[in-house]
């Protein structure tokens, strides 16, 4: 699946987009754990939300290989 990174997560990952293909990652929680294994700096954030297809997702939400996932570190607009 395609994973988009924004703000500080883009710096931690080193690019704005990665491709992660792993059928065993069936929920948002699984994916988040895998990303933290790959990029341990993500653990230092105040929060890390996940959006699936441009909508905030819950930890237990299912994800599919063709979903577009986005990493949402703490937002700070305004």
């Amino acid at each position: 699946m395609k994973i988009l990174a924004f703000g500080i997560t883009k710096e931690y990952i080193g690019q704005s987009e990665i491709e992660l293909n792993d059928d065993s990652l069936s929920t948002v929680a699984h994916l988040k754990n895998r990303l933290i294994e790959l990029y341990p700096n993500l653990k230092s954030l105040n929060s890390l939300a996940i959006a699936v297809n441009e909508v905030y997702a819950a930890e237990e939400d299912k994800i599919e290989q063709n979903d577009v996932v986005a990493l949402i570190p703490p937002v700070s607009g305004g």
Partner: protein, 139 residues
């Protein structure tokens, strides 16, 4: 149309926001203008960079506007936000609310900016003398 949502790299137009909510039935028009300040705590801020996940940010801004319209006795709302590099004194956000009575307009405007700051995927990086930091990223 009772809401106006705009996310742009270009300078925001305060008059356009005010005119959008302007209506003869209104007794109040509340305008919030967010500006880039030159300091955070003791740090001397030189400029800000706003990054956004644009398609999702627009959807979340729409949600903020709809929730405000449902929650408060207001007639209309405009939420405009800018991204890219902004210098001191420039305007990253404008919110305008029109209503019959001022209290609902004040409350809705405060609700909209507070909610935007917690839900809309926009990120701010501060460039200050001797460093840079993504705001709110770390404890």
């Amino acid at each position: 149309m009772i809401k106006s949502i705009h996310l742009t790299e270009k300078p925001l137009d305060i008059t356009r926001c005010r005119e959008f909510v302007s209506h003869p039935k209104n007794g109040a028009e509340v305008l919030f203008v967010g500006t880039v300040r030159n300091h955070t705590d003791s740090k001397n801020v030189e400029k800000l960079l706003f990054e956004t996940y644009k398609p999702m940010a627009v959807k979340e801004m729409e949600k903020v506007a709809l929730t405000a319209l449902n929650k408060f006795e207001i007639a209309s709302i405009a939420i405009h936000h800018r991204y890219g590099e902004l210098n001191i004194g420039e305007i990253p956000v404008v919110i305008a609310v029109g209503s019959s009575h001022r209290k609902a307009a004040f409350d809705a405007c405060e609700f909209a900016i507070d909610t935007l700051k917690t839900t809309v995927p926009i990120w701010k990086k501060e460039f200050f003398t001797g460093g840079e930091v993504w705001v709110s990223a770390h404890p």
